[in-house]
Amino acid sequence: MFDLLLLNLRRNGVMVGMGEWLALLDAIGKGLAGTLPELYRLGRAILVHKESQFDAWDQAFQATFAGVELPEPLSAAMQQWLQQSIGPQRPRREIDMSDEELRREFLKRLAEQKERHDGGSRWIGTGGDSPFGRDGSASKGVQAGGGGSRSAVQVAMDREWESYRTDRQLDHRDMMVALRALRNLRREGEQELDLDGTIDKTAQNCGDVDLAFQPARVNRVHLRLLLDTGGSMSPHAQLVTQLFTAASALKGFKSFESWHFHNVPYGHLTEDYRSGKRTPIEDLLRAWPAGTRVVFVGDASMATYELFQPFGYYGGAGAQLSGLEWLQRMRRQLPHSVWLNPDPERWWDHPTVRAIGATFPMFPLTLDGLRAAVQRLRAAS
């Protein structure tokens, strides 16, 4: 029953590690969870680390314990389990195991259980002196079900944490770490004391203090994120938003801006795609400092005429060039640019994707792709 909880948790996307599971066992062994509501609370505190996963916890807990006949929810079941594993007359054993030993022991027991798993409700302790039931303090646990308190399963069934769920596949923190590699620190800030230099010079000066200074390190990188916000991109909106949040949350770029376009930039970019306020690309190219790193994000797939014909789909007055010609023009002026494509690579065999991929180095919008793109941007420096 308890190992089922572990399975249910993992099935619900809460990747419980061995360390945490052992910590929970340790805590139960210390008598911190004598009742089901206490187990609910304790388990959540130890096994779940984000409020966005509280709902998954509720579901796993409910799936595990709902309908299970536990008249006195946990204490009886635990007592039984402890009786089985320790035995009433055995001497109690203090556990002085390290985590590593505990872990090995745990795995051993788990393997044992697999061999004789017959749907029973026994946990992992089948041997005589389970380290996972030490002190047997659970047998002294608070009587559950008494008073007016609601059962833990009932609480879990409320699913009051549902709105805290996020289900983000790709952690924006991972993206931040990847993007951070873009930083290019150069010594050109304000003067600060150069400790090593001072020591060197002082030594050369026969111990007479000779201070040395050097400019502080500053990040010189200007970063621009150009996002395709067209219709075909909407399945990727979340991913793109994450990339945007990661890039904007990352402190220390000399400057950061994001711009929007639809399919390809036809002569202009918009600051906020809702407002639709357009800024000509020529103005931007002039304004952006040399060496600006530019990341295009788009699926690069559209009807061929939208890319190859002048007066593309969104062409208006002044749009003399085709979408591709605009891109080639931008590429010439922005040598430090890459294209991130959120579509999987197997979809890239499409005329417009091929043409854009020939213009810009194209990478998939995955963590690996992002890393490779950052590498490429760095190499260009």
């Binding site: 210390k30 911190l32 304790l42 130890i46 680390h49 509280f54 303090s137 952690d171 951070r180 020591i199």
Partner: protein, 287 residues
């Protein structure tokens, strides 16, 4: 319940039950005690103003332990919490010769322990607060993994290890916004402080501002939750703002009935200009 630690020393847990000024709910209390029992840091998250930092103070007070607080800033490096070797001072002293009692040859004179270092060095058990850990660089929590696991670190300059005699009761706070690294999260007991409900917030008000007129508190709390419920607020007013507001209301002698009609001193509760504009155009439904 009686619990023995491995070495027979009575473990201190199942003890924390809040203090007179800090109202703690059952869940939080259980999590604090679980963290203490397991010797793991307690990671506390929740929206600003839910009393994350106060919790550490309350735990220290409740258990009667001294507290070491490390307030993390965006520029904070993990090293700063451990120790600092003041080379510049030493260089200066070596040049301008010893000021009374300072021996330049003794490197120890120039090694200064940081908050973590001092917490580890202290004789008895302590409460260690690492406040707003998410403010620092993304790698900051990872840099502290080993130190928090083993409650020890090495000072290479002295070839010495500073090891905590008693695992400090460690409380780490973080605002809900940023992700912390998984490896770090796995080592913590996690507690999410939800915004208190009206009944609890009245308890909190009473603990902080004893002697306020009950009708005034009731009216203010109703209005307070009404404002929090307005959609589109950039920054919802939090507990600390409610306390400030009540103080102002009491000082100004505002009558409970007036709060129901309009919201006097709204700017104490809501500080962003955009939010004030938003509220000005709305009739706030009472909670």
């Amino acid at each position: 319940m009686s619990h023995r630690a491995q070495d027979g020393v009575e473990e201190e847990f199942g003890q924390f039950a809040g203090t007179s000024r800090y109202i703690v709910d059952e869940d939080l209390q259980a999590d604090v005690n679980a963290a203490i029992a397991l010797g793991r840091p307690l990671l506390v998250r929740g929206e600003p103003g839910t009393g994350k930092t106060q919790l550490a103070h309350a735990v220290a007070e409740g258990l009667g332990l001294p507290m070491f607080a490390w307030h993390v800033k965006s520029t904070t490096k993990a090293m700063e919490g451990l120790y600092h070797y003041d080379v510049v001072q030493r260089l200066n002293d070596s040049r301008f010769s010893a000021i009374d009692g300072v021996d330049v040859r003794d490197i120890r004179q120039y090694i200064k322990l940081g908050v973590l270092g001092r917490a580890f060095r202290s004789e008895g058990r302590v409460v260690l607060l690492i406040d707003e850990i998410d403010k620092a660089d993304v790698e900051f929590p990872n840099d502290l993994l080993r130190e928090l696991d083993e409650m020890a670190f090495t000072i290479p300059e002295l070839d010495e290890t500073v090891r905590a005699r008693h695992r400090p009761v460690t409380i780490i706070t973080s605002n809900a916004e940023k992700e912390l690294p998984d490896a770090f999260l796995r080592r913590c007991v996690f507690h999410y402080i939800r915004f208190p409900d009206p009944a609890r917030i009245k308890q909190i008000v009473n603990a902080h501002l004893p002697g306020l007129e009950g009708a005034l508190i009731d009216a203010a709390v109703v209005r307070f939750y009404g404002i929090r419920r307005v959609a589109g607020l950039r920054k919802k007013p939090s507990t600390s703002e409610l306390l400030d507001w009540l103080m102002v209301l009491a000082r100004a002698g505002v009558r409970p009935a007036e709060i129901a009609r309009k919201t006097p001193f709204l700017s104490v509760l809501v500080k962003q200009e955009k939010d004030l504009e938003l509220l000005a155009g709305k009739v706030i439904a009472d909670a």
